[in-house]
Symmetry: C2
Subunit: 231 residues, 2 copies
Amino acid sequence: MCDTCGCHSPSDPLIVEVNQSLLAANDEAAHANHHRIEAMGAVGLNLISSPGSGKTTLLEKTIEMLGRDLRIGVIEGDIETELDAERIRAKGVPVVQLTTGGACHLDAPLVGKGLDALEGQLDGAGLDLVVIENVGNLVCPATFALGEHQRVVLLSVPEGQDKPAKYPGVFRTSQIFLLTKTDLLPYFDFDIAAASAEARRINPALQIMALSATSGEGMEAWFDFLRQITK
Amino acid sequence: MCDTCGCHSPSDPLIVEVNQSLLAANDEAAHANHHRIEAMGAVGLNLISSPGSGKTTLLEKTIEMLGRDLRIGVIEGDIETELDAERIRAKGVPVVQLTTGGACHLDAPLVGKGLDALEGQLDGAGLDLVVIENVGNLVCPATFALGEHQRVVLLSVPEGQDKPAKYPGVFRTSQIFLLTKTDLLPYFDFDIAAASAEARRINPALQIMALSATSGEGMEAWFDFLRQITK
C-alpha cells in the first residue's frame, strides 16, 4: 500500500489490512474507468489540491478558452453541495457532481458512477477531455487512482512554499504541478524557484507550470499542454 | 460514528465497522489526554485548517504576545518534516513535533506520546495552554478528538467563502472559527458576513473572530479569548 495514504489512523496497524483490500478493489475500478474514458475518445485528468487552491476557477477559464475546440466533460467531487457543478454547468459543458457524504477523497467506484452519468448527457457523442476535480484535500486523494491519464496537483501562492516538503505524497504521484494564483506573488513571501526545486527533489519527472487564472499569466502553457495531450 | 469522517472510502461499507472500533479507542485515549492536560494546569486547543491557512504564523504571533504571561506548550502535527516545530522552538517555548508518516490527521494515541515528550521538557513545571496544531487538512481531523478543551477551525481569505458549506464537518465540531489573513481582503472577492452566516447555519454556537496575524487586525480579540480561557 502506498505509504502516503492518509486514510488510516497513524496508531492502528489493524486498519492497514482492510485498506489493502480496499485499494486493490479501487485499482481494479480505476483500470475500468481508464478504459471507459479512452472509449469516449478522451484523456482523463485528476485535479488534486487543498480547498481553495483554484481548481474550479482554472477549469472555468480552461472551458472559456478551449471549449470550442475541445469537447470537455467534467466530474466534480465534493463532500457536500452542488456549488462547483453549477459554476461549470454555467459554462455550457456536460458536468456531473459527485458528493461523498463526508469522505475525504473520490474513489474509483464512485467516479465510475460519475462516468455513467456523464455518458447519459452525451447522447453517444465522444469527448476529448474528462476532468475530474477531486475533493479539496492535499493528502488522501493521492492514494486513490481514479482512472486518470495524468494527475495534476495544484498549489496556490497563499498556501506557502513549504507545502511540497510537508505533503510529499501527492507531489510524488502526480505528473503535473500547477503553481496557481501567481498574481498574488507581490503580497507573499513565496519563492517559485524554491518551491519548484523542492517538488522536483520529491519527483524529478514532475512537469511544473506557474500561472494565474485571474491575470492570465502562464495560462497559455497550460492550454498548450491540454491541446497536446488531446491531439 | 461521526459521518464527517473522511477516513473511509465512500464506496466501501466494510471499513465503517473497523473505523467504529478505531474511533472508540481514539475517544478513550482522548479522554486520558484531556485529564493529562488538566493535570498540567492547562487548557488544550486543537487547531484545524487546510494547509497554508496560517496556523503556525498565528501561533508564532500568539507566543510573541502572550508568551511572557502564559506558559504555552505546543504539539506540532505534520505528515513529514520538522519545519513547524523549528519555527515554534525559535520562539522559546516547549514544542514537540509529531510526524504521522503519511496519515492525514493526528489521533489521540499519537498526541498522548506528544504529551509524554512535552512533559519531558517541563521538569515538573506546569503549563497554562497546550496548543495542538493538526495536520493541514480540513476534512479528516474533524473526526478525531485529541483531548482538547476547544477546537479551533481556521479558514483564510484566499481559500474562498464557500468553504464552510463545502466542508461542514469541521465547522460543526469546532467551538471557535478564526477567519484569517484579513489583510488580503482587498485582493479577493470574499464576504466575511456571508462566510460567517454560513458557518453559523451549520453551527449556531460557533464563536467567530476575523483577524490577520500579519497586520495585527483583530488579534486583540483572540488574545483576550486566550487570556479568558486560561484564567
